[in-house]
Every structure is written in structure tokens, then in C-alpha cells.
């Protein structure tokens, strides 16, 4: 189903802004309101807007199930890797202060929190997008 030209143009114009805002929410999560989950949901909302404005196969062709699997595994891997790295200088799981004290780099735990948030965001984005694909699927081929 093709929606009309106004909706398509405006959503094509808005999707990059929504994605930039999602990245802002993810990165801002270490300092204030926001975080990985919220940013990932906002990022997935841009895909939902694309599914509404264009049709589902077009979006699927851009971001198919292979990339969803890759993204969700990648996010979990980033999260678990940074969590396990904190075990090396005898800290707890996700205890960033242990790495910061061992390496002696100031503000390192802020960057580590940001990296963990990015991992959460990637996973949440992929999971939300796959849920939307499965909900709005009308049957037929599944690729």
C-alpha cells in the first residue's frame, strides 16, 4: 500500500532527526535522563514510522532479519564484554571503578558506561524492530 506524497516526504525528512535524537538520548544517559533502553526504543520508532509511511517489504529490504540477528548479538556482546572486563582487575561485574583505578585513566568509567549504553541500545533497537516486523506481517513470505 502506497501512502500519499505528503506523508512520505515528511517522514523521509523526519527519520534522520529521530535517529539523531535517539543517539543523543543514548549518549546522554550517563549524565542525566535517558539511557540505552529509551534510546533504542526511539531508534526503533523511526523504523516504525518508515513502516507506516512506506510499506513493510521496503523497510525489510533495507534492514532484514540477518541484520537484526547481527545487531542483537552485537549489543549483548558489547555489554557482556565490558562487564567481564571489569572482572580482570578484581572488580565486580560491571564495576567500572576497578578498570579506571587499574589503568589510571581519568573519567574512564563514564566512557565505559556510554559503551554499555550503546550495546543496550543496539540490542533493544533490533528486538523492537523484529517485534514490529512480526506484528505487522500479514503472512506470506518470511525473509
Amino acid at each position: 500500500m502506497k501512502e500519499n506524497v505528503v506523508i512520505r516526504t515528511i517522514s523521509r525528512f523526519l527519520v534522520p532527526f529521530i535517529q539523531v535524537y535517539a543517539l543523543y538520548v543514548i549518549v546522554h544517559g550517563a549524565l542525566g535522563a535517558g539511557g540505552g533502553f529509551q534510546g533504542g526504543v526511539v531508534f526503533a520508532a523511526s523504523f516504525i514510522l518508515m513502516i507506516i509511511a512506506f510499506d513493510l517489504p521496503y523497510v525489510r529490504q533495507r534492514f532484514n532479519y540477518k541484520w537484526i540477528v547481527i545487531c542483537s548479538v552485537l549489543g549483548v556482546t558489547i555489554y557482556a564484554t565490558i562487564g567481564l572486563l571489569c572482572l580482570i582487575p578484581s572488580g565486580n561485574y560491571l564495576e567500572y571503578g576497578a578498570i579506571e583505578a587499574a589503568l589510571g585513566i581519568p573519567h574512564l568509567h563514564g566512557y565505559l558506561i556510554d559503551a554499555v549504553e550503546v550495546g543496550i541500545g543496539i540490542t533493544v533497537m533490533a528486538a523492537m524492530t523484529s517485534i514490529i516486523y512480526d506484528i505487522s506481517n500479514k503472512g506470506g513470505e518470511s525473509s
Binding site: E3, N4, V6, I7, I10, F13, L14, F17
Partner: protein
């Protein structure tokens, strides 16, 4: 905003009600946010509010257009003079 509320209650059918509320959403919220900017003074929050004004000014008419387009596709009858209110 008051005019939008009055239009929502008083207008006879779907199309004209959406017309009234779409106007007050777009311009009324923009004016309220510009008022916040004037009250707060120019700083980073003012820049964010200005972006918000721009995006509301773009997206709100688009949402109204989408609703009306779907209503027209589903053959909602427009009100004519002499019909009763719906």
C-alpha cells in the same frame, strides 16, 4: 487553544472538527513554546524549544492530513448545509 476547543465542540462533522483542532495544535503550541522562550531567556533550553516549535510546525499538519486522508478513503460523508449534526 480556546478557539480550537470551541471548534471541536461546536462544529457539525468530522472534517471541520479536525480542521479546528489541527489549527490550534499547530499555531497554539508554537505560540506557547515561543512564550516559554521569551520567559526563560536565550540559553540552550531556548534552542531546544525552538527546534520543538519547528518540528511541531512540520509534523502536526502532516498528522492531520494523514487522519483526513484515511477518513476520505473510508468514505466518511462530509456535512452539507441542512443536515443534522453528527
Amino acid at each position: 487553544m480556546v478557539v480550537g476547543a470551541i471548534g471541536l465542540i461546536r462544529f457539525p462533522d468530522f472534517y471541520s472538527r479536525v480542521h479546528a483542532t489541527g489549527k490550534c495544535d499547530t499555531l497554539g503550541e508554537g505560540m506557547m513554546l515561543i512564550g516559554f522562550i521569551l520567559y526563560e531567556g536565550m540559553n540552550l533550553i531556548a534552542v531546544k524549544l525552538l527546534l520543538l516549535v519547528v518540528f511541531i510546525f512540520i509534523t502536526s499538519p502532516t498528522a492531520v492530513h494523514a487522519i483526513l486522508n484515511v477518513a476520505y478513503t473510508c468514505k466518511v460523508e462530509p456535512w452539507k448545509k441542512g443536515d443534522e449534526r453528527r
